[in-house]
Symmetry: C2
Subunit: 376 residues, 2 copies
């Protein structure tokens, strides 16, 4: 049995990701039918990303529900690393987080890790600041409740965050960072420290309210390692370990495995793309599961499992399972051609982006409502 | 030629310090007569710690004077690591810094490195905070000009400092930290990061005023390694390298070499000690250069070079060179006994502490004038 080579860190996803192996290596649990049913008791409907196994794994989600059922509400914590424009691959976690906020009616702390991106990218801080501002517009546009949503920007909120971060830092040594992330002696000392800053928002509400509040972190699975380290530390500081719910990566344009990345900016679909750009990108770059000729396709059928256009529908743009199944069936049977599938996807994306771009413009006036006002 | 073993890091001074070797290893310059004369041109008198070679080495002090002579004033930056009570050993650098502030009429930025002490000591943050408050009282009591003095407390001013610190952190890797401080893989990630925070105050005025302002850092030589690393980074970020003026360590009670340390709290003379405590400590613990019997002492004389009471006079408490020389001569000849020398030292220390303790009480109401008001 040949072991496929891949690696997943918060900064780099290489090769074809074997999620089963990640689950084992990270020591996380798959979300099973029983857990889905338990969630459904509270949410009535399950979000498509749960039904479809896109949010597929977790840590301590049963505990979060135990506490919730006892009347002890959790808060949500997720984030954004601002180093470039937002593309469709970013949206899944955030849209799912918005759903969680709505159905559970909970607070959300949203972290913009501008320090991380500055420390890990060959970019100036000015450039990172520009992207922080741009990315904030996209996040606001998604419709989080302003009265229950608090943005933390690491450098802007360092007065609040750094004193908490050093509490974590004191209990994490370089051996651990090296083992988990593969950082070596040539890593800069900000990169080495950074995990402490990402640990912080999971306790900020507890620090501010001086009581222990459960935290649930929706994230793409590449962000898990920070918390794998930090989860050992939370109880030592008197806090609950945050629970986590993990998603697969939204596929890149070039194929179904791996992760859509800002290093493919020219092919990734950005939230600011015009209709025509979306059309061109999908038509030219979206990896197809179809056959080489129409004749072959009609005869043998396409493969939706590797077809990026289909996967975009599955991940984000076709909430109806019925419709999705019909598309899948028709594509697999050869009844639906790649060009037809791409047309559906292009329309869906453009319909979403048209609304998103309007909200994104409106967001310019709403930012201040979301940024946490640090009293200290 | 046998190499004596000693080590000097900002957290630990071990063995008998060979300052000549430190000068070579650190790559710093001795202060010579020519440089003293140049300083004297501006200060009229030389501070006793300069005349007596206690501030004995430097980096780029001639450049600081070049700039000063061109009308480009420097500012001073020094600090305090708050992990215990202030003892006499701490005061030298600060009293010298006060003199520099007075004679050059310059701004002072004073850093309280509470993060450092939390990260390097087995102490809770609450305890460190207590000491920060206590130590601030001592620093205020020394009489710095409030309108020209700005205290930075690392955790309180992290909103200002952390965003600057990551600029340094990005350009320092773990190999350098390991080589300079001997930190290994078991070091916590806050310790590894910390040098970036200590680098910051040397550019804070430049950042705030958006222009490059020369900086002079008076410090005991054990603090040099942070700046040896950071000085390579300042120009990369567009700042001047700060100049440094280095002092010897105030001797500990147990002997003339090494450094007075808070780990000998029971013998170190604290700024809060009562008259009687000072008397007891000097009488019982101050290492003597005298002979075993009065007869021997009268005949052979004492050794002021290793006598801790004499060294305290030389470092801090006898500003008159004439009087100090007379004491030295009398002690060396055997005319002055250890008990007589100790009596002089006890009186001098108690006279100083009586005033200091009054000012220290008054300081409780003055703290706020000194703490930098972070506009952000």
């Amino acid at each position: 049995m040949q072991k496929k080579e891949f690696s997943v860190t918060p900064w780099d996803v290489k090769g074809e990701v074997d999620y089963e192996r990640l689950v084992k290596e990270f020591g996380i649990s798959k979300i099973d039918g029983k857990l889905l049913n338990r969630i459904k008791k509270h949410t009535k409907e399950l979000h498509p990303m749960l039904r479809r196994g896109i949010f597929f794994a977790h840590r301590d989600l049963n505990w979060i529900l135990d506490e919730y059922e006892k009347g002890n509400k959790f808060f949500l914590y997720t984030g954004c690393g601002p180093s470039g424009p937002i593309h469709l691959g970013h949206l899944g976690t955030w849209l799912f987080t918005k759903w969680l906020q709505d159905v559970f009616d909970v607070e959300l702390w949203f972290q913009f890790t501008d320090d991380e991106k500055f420390l890990f990218k060959e970019k100036s801080f000015d450039e990172i600041e520009k992207w922080t501002h741009e990315n904030i517009l996209d996040v606001v546009a998604l419709g989080f409740k302003p009265e229950k949503t608090h943005f933390l920007i690491d450098t802007k909120h360092a007065g609040l965050m750094y004193p908490i971060a050093i509490q974590f830092a004191k209990k994490i040594n370089f051996s651990t960072i090296r083992a988990v992330f593969g950082l070596e002696n040539d890593a800069n000392i900000g990169q080495i420290f950074y995990t402490s800053m990402q640990a912080v928002p999971a306790v900020v509400p507890s620090v501010l309210k001086k009581k222990n509040i459960p935290c649930l972190i929706p994230l793409a699975i590449d962000q898990d390692p920070h918390f794998r380290i930090a989860r050992d530390v939370y109880p030592k500081l008197g806090y609950y370990k945050p629970a986590i719910i993990h998603s697969l990566f939204m596929p890149s344009m070039s194929g179904p495995k791996g992760k859509m990345s800002s290093s493919e900016e020219h092919t990734a679909i950005l939230t600011t793309d015009k209709e025509k750009e979306v059309e061109n990108k999908i038509k030219r770059y979206a990896f197809s599961g179809g056959r080489d000729t129409i004749e072959e396709h009609r005869k043998l059928g396409g493969n939706p499992d590797v077809d990026v256009s289909f996967q975009y529908l599955r991940f984000l743009f076709e909430p109806s399972d019925e419709k999705l199944e019909k598309i899948e069936k028709d594509y697999r049977s050869g009844k639906m051609l790649t060009s037809e599938l791409k047309k559906i996807t292009i329309e869906k994306i453009n319909a979403f982006l048209k609304e998103h771009q309007k909200k994104r413009e409106k967001a310019r006036k709403e930012i201040e409502k979301f940024i946490y006002k640090n009293s200290s």
